[in-house]
Symmetry: D2
Subunit: 334 residues, 4 copies
């Protein structure tokens, strides 16, 4: 940690800070520059995390040198984390496709979708039972009934299942029905929920928040891992920018960066990430090429009748085509 | 609602849509342009909210004309909402100042702060008991113990109290201790939590999300009001932009816009909104001038020892000065 | 300047850097931390501005401590700059209103506008002769003919004039006709143009770029001042964010920050800054309260017939009202 | 075009607009909804481009249906544009790599770079002679001397050349020396410069502005094409977002979208787009997979001594590796 003093800081300000740093068991090093002084601090600076040094007299800025997350960091663990669920492995060179409708609507819709996407190569079936919707007047999901359908269909077809959990009170219940818990982007900094899924015995897929930095994303993973659940899968799903042509801006830079900074697997969601059906295929191929560990894609047998997000859902035929194209890039990557 | 067809849309695509619109009890009007057709839809188009018309063949875009929120809209209710708590009125020409530390740390800290800010004119005492922190290794708040201190101090000093609720399971408990429930910006789209505080019998202050549009903010208010709780106070606290000099970009445009679009009171938080102590006074004055109904400001007796957000906390002396300046602008506004 | 080494950096990497720093006449200070080393550099570090230390082996990051601009900085000159043009003073506690149409369309339009805005208190008449338009098919301005009209009307009515210059080849010509040269936001980093107006003998109003940081804005001012032209007026005109309700997000934080960081006067443009007529009055009042040195407002006698930006133009009657309201805040600020 | 009336608009407001629309030779269609009226307008609505209908009494909003650009649109020309320079073809299924240093520094630097990048497969040599730099105290380029070196080296090695033009007064001169003119992102809306290169007899590579929408980018291309120069190459080079880990956010969504909306070739610049050397390889591969027509990559024989942008420059060895990886993806795409 480096403490940058104001040019007008007085000698007693610096002395005051040095005393404070030493009291905390840390070692300060003062460097007197032409314009101002800076103070380097050595030792376990995490004890300073809650100390507002920046409010002390004469201080202009405090520059953190280390990243605040530990368990999620590749500095701690160099080899890729592989999340194993039954016979499916996510991360470490495996590539997994998850697919299904935005919302579970009925058994018929789910079984039709599941059979189709499994045939194309998907291993995990997605389907929302609790739907966070911007307007309270939009369809909010089938709730537990939806979870039952999802579980039933997953079993029948032979696929793993993933569904979003939106409230601390639902964690246990959702964990009973599905194989992977999903934290949605609007809840990426719902720290109570992160802590709760950290205690669950199921893998968690953590979507990046709409305007979260990569560091905040990894800090959110840290919340889950700190509770003992190390089976965390990151998911990039588009960030909010000034561009209005796409619903969000799918950020593949963050995928490459997260793979460098962390050992956790990273999945890409081109459906929410672009919000435009015609961009899903090219962005899926790009996600493979950038090094993602998998894709999660919205598929609906009849997008024009979907109760949620139809605009970005693929038909099974379109999805089949995306899978084919993705495999071509995958084999070139080997 | 206006449905914009693709230039290459076929006649049967249009007929298909017309049939569908009519089946829903709505009236379509086709306008054949030089390049393409557009279809105006008349009737209660809210039945279309969950229908993905945009996925139908030949459709390029769907333009919504009306706003999706109703109860929060000034079109529904022209006069200002005044939220009354005991003898304090918020909205409708009254100006209320809320102040206190980011986090409740001890009885001594709270009583010292409360006495000082009350003397300067604050009516509501703030203090976080459950703190959402970016890193799991930062101080997370005193929880129920903090609520007890807050209540005790509010009573002793004669101030209303406000504190953040971060989980559906805490709503009842927090509502027991405080006068106003706060929804933080990270939870603005935690729809379960919004629904839960909508059922509480306490006013709710709803902070705008870091990257929420004004419409999403009012939709979030709608979630609360839909449950029967009409005592909603909006709070602008800065949005996330590319600028790094300030912690956030306090968006006063949104304050003026929200006052036009909605009848709800709007409070401004210049502490989180700027994240820089020296900008709090000028932005507080600007908030008054733009028409805000109040301010919420972080004050700590000893910012350099604060366990959270010390960088942006004012001392009681600095706060006194801000209140004095604010009153000058207020009197000019009358 | 602080050089942050990678945790895995080797001893020879550090030695290599120390040697390099010393060769440049600077003094390095190594601080060996638990995880990694950091190197503080003392001396005139501006010689390092073009040296890519960050590319040297073992270096993770380079943290600049000082701001890169000098002439524009309040550290260099503590008292406010006052730009004087004839008997009008801009900055240093004076408040100046500039007004007029987006584009000069005709003598009649300009004389009608000028008489009205002067009566309401405006001292400077604005009017674009060269119009940067997003689409090549939009009205591009009357060019030199427009400048002639502007000058003629300014003289007749007794107002100063301001107009935008968009090309290095026009600087001399525009400077002949107007009292203040304007650099538009799209040209804020057109460095050739900045250099050219730096050589002109006329004050320059520099609009902040749509996505420019405050530091980049002050760097752009530095380009002008470096050529010897110290009469620079900054103008905040809204930044680009995710919000679509307003055309731009007028950033008053940046106004307060620029007043702290620099001695140059800062003008606010609520017309472009919000793009919505009904927000101009509240944001003008807020601009006064935050400490701006003036306003520039679009006024058109018949906004519905304006050839450019009619959506955000005030009528003379609306403008009169804004000026009256602004004066109330101004007198409270004294 | 659709005109949305305010709910409170009066009958005479609508009549007034209908009259105005008809006078312009267009046909209005009124649709009276429950809450408000909307007016569809048929005919060549481009005559309305400069008419501020939005300022007319009773109007709430005006929704444009068609895109404003024509020549750049794939609706006008369905087949891909192929820009031919000597024996190199850009667009239409060809993939071209451009490489070289950020700035031309010396003959030795250029010849060493050129030989290396040509060997790895690059066809076009890049090198800045006029450098737009944020700070006036940074290296500004060798100017004409740099152009001479670039031309000389291109000829010797047998490569095409590209260099940025930053001022209308330089267009003719730069066009004498190089094969492709580059418009930098800071000048994307320097409309005078766009018009001037539109008159030049050389292909133009147009970089997307830091905060330009895809539509603004295509409008900028339209400025060039309107002057008769149809050899326009688009270049995505990263947009400005809230993320600070990367220098910019390379937006591959925009590449896929631009390929859909326009027939022009699209090149990707991962060097500026990410600003981090370790992200260039994965993002280059992703660019190929998303359907880009080429790459432009910064290569410097000694990045640690580069006078500009060393942090993101590859060594020839690193570049060779990127080219090899890119070819694997390319062959899978066929």
């Amino acid at each position: 940690m480096v403490i940058v003093m104001k040019p007008e800081a007085e000698k007693k300000d610096i002395e005051n800070i040095l005393k404070y740093i030493k009291e905390l068991g840390l070692t300060p090093h003062v460097i007197e520059g032409q314009e101002r002084a800076v103070i380097g601090v050595i030792g376990d600076v995490s004890v300073l995390a809650d100390k507002p040094v920046i409010s002390m007299d004469g201080v202009e800025n405090v520059v953190r040198i280390s990243v605040p997350y530990k368990l999620a960091s590749r500095m701690l663990k160099r080899e890729d984390t592989v999340v194993k669920v039954d016979d499916v492995e996510i991360g470490g060179g495996n590539f997994v496709i998850m697919a299904g409708p935005c919302a579970v609507e009925s058994y018929e819709q789910m079984i039709e979708t599941a059979r189709a996407v499994k045939k194309s190569g998907a291993k995990v079936l997605r389907g929302g039972a609790y739907k966070p919707r911007t307007s309270p007047y939009s369809f909010q999901g089938l709730e537990e009934e939806g979870l039952k359908i999802l579980k039933q269909v997953g079993k029948e077809v032979g696929m793993l299942t993933i569904s979003e959990v939106v409230d601390t009170q639902h964690v246990e219940k959702v964990a009973e029905y599905v194989d992977i818990l999903q934290i949605g982007s609007r809840n990426m900094q719902n720290f109570q929920l992160l802590t709760e899924v950290g205690k669950a015995k199921k893998p968690v897929m953590l979507k990046r928040g709409l305007s979260s930095t990569i560091e905040e994303w990894l800090n959110a993973a840290e919340y889950i891992m700190k509770e003992g659940n190390y089976d965390v899968i990151l998911c990039e799903r588009g960030i909010r920018t000034f561009e209005t042509y796409t619903r969000n801006t799918l950020d593949l830079n963050a995928v490459a960066a997260a793979k460098n900074l962390s050992h956790l697997p990273v999945i890409v969601d081109p459906s929410h990430g672009t919000g435009r059906r015609e961009l899903i295929e090219p962005m899926s191929k790009a996600a493979v090429a950038v090094g993602a560990d998998g894709l999660i894609i919205e598929v609906h047998p009849h997008p024009e009748r979907a109760l949620s997000d139809g605009a970005q859902s693929l038909t099974p035929v379109e999805f089949e085509r995306v899978c084919r194209e993705v495999k071509r890039i995958l084999s070139a990557m080997k």
